[in-house]
Symmetry: C2
């Protein structure tokens, strides 16, 4: 039995969170983040890697736009991982990931990530359990490399939506002319594999846990964005950064 | 006490090796290698990484020219690692190495390598022992990643010259107009640190030994090239490769 059971974790904000109040707080946190990111860039001693995972329609793109989109784009890079190309497949699965690891001073966002190599691949049995275990070991080593040898802070977010909310959002993509470009009939086939995905996520939270995951209740975008921004803000604050003085 | 003591290992061919006979054998091995490399490329199931390390003037460039230069250049890539650039330094020390890891079907030669990060850096105390240990752990993990997740065979060669032979070759670079371009007065300063380098090499043979090192007696180029070519030939033969059939 995994120590995290997603079914038992709420996908919604706690009752005492007020939407408008939280949005006001978020605006303040985004201003703080703007300063902190500037400091991160100026000091260039730490790197930050933000991994965003979640089911289809869990709000990954929206998080990137509404949280990271507020920061100075010169210090923030986004990389979306799609199905690997032929060239990428001719290398180990972390090759394309390492190439996109953040330089010191930078915040790198991964929209999906190396975790897909132990999620979608396992659900569809493209990768057996033994290979998945080896991959998880390699992922732990790789995250340790970035952490120990390039001062990288790794923040991993799982955007936790309910299957009901996901269905509502997928239906919305069919109806809303501004969202139709996102519609992919395959998403419904993947959604049908919900329980398998949850099992694989739980396994990966268990085994790849040295760099911690944040399970973000994601049925309400305002709460999801608040949690992601707060976690990033608290992490950057903990780095105890200083503006470099004049170079003499 | 390390298990390999370089002082106790000969830098010359065993007495029963005849120069002309060995050169004839080498020519035959190079023909075999040409076939094997073609098969490696056609099958594209394995990758080969050849790491070449050694003191200045130990014959790294000559090995690359006289052994790997005989193979089809479409399937062989050479990367020379120099002092890291500002961009490279803003990443972990294996970032630039991973970017140059071989794709399946390819032979990648590293002229110097990630091992410099625990050799020259330790000799000059740019890197303390604790950091060096962490780096060696990261190197072992990285070599395991390439091996386990991309079918990479890693061959590591240490070109073992005597300090006397090195001095003779460095002096030759001053006298021979065709070799003067290679002369660097810094080489003599590094040569003076011989014993420190040997200690650091011995430590790295001990700790980074899962993918094995070949200590190549390198005072005579003909023997050095024969050993490198033979090791590569034997490795490629052990892969049990097959030409792919017609795709239907």
């Amino acid at each position: 039995m995994p120590s995290i059971e997603l079914k038992k974790i709420s996908t919604r904000a706690p009752k005492d969170f007020d939407k408008n109040e939280t949005k006001e707080k978020l605006d303040k946190i985004l201003l703080e983040l703007d300063d902190l990111q500037n400091l991160l860039y100026a000091e260039s001693k730490h790197a930050v890697l933000v991994v965003i995972q979640g089911m289809d329609a869990s709000g990954k793109d929206g998080t990137i736009r509404n949280v990271f989109g507020k920061l100075n784009p010169q210090g923030v890079l986004v990389h979306s991982f799609k199905a690997p190309t032929a060239e990428e497949l001719s290398h180990d699965f972390l090759w394309r990931v390492h190439a996109n690891a953040p330089a010191k001073g930078m915040i790198q966002i991964f929209n999906r990530s190396h975790y897909e190599d132990i999620l979608i691949t396992r659900v569809h049995k493209w990768c057996d359990d033994k290979t998945a275990r080896k991959r998880m070991g390699a992922i732990n080593d790789f995250e340790e490399l970035l952490t120990a040898h390039n001062n990288t802070k790794i923040l991993k977010f799982y955007l936790h939506v309910s299957p009901e909310e996901q269905q509502a959002r997928l239906q919305e993509r069919i109806k809303d002319p501004k969202k139709q470009w996102k519609y992919n009939e395959n998403d419904f086939k993947e959604a049908a594999l919900w329980d398998d995905y949850m099992n694989m996520y739980e396994d990966c939270f268990e085994i790849c846990s040295k760099q911690p995951w944040t399970i973000v209740p994601a049925d309400q975008n305002w709460y999801k964005e608040y949690i992601v921004a707060t976690t990033l803000r608290d992490t950057l604050k903990s780095l105890d950064m200083q503006y470099p003085g004049l170079k003499r």
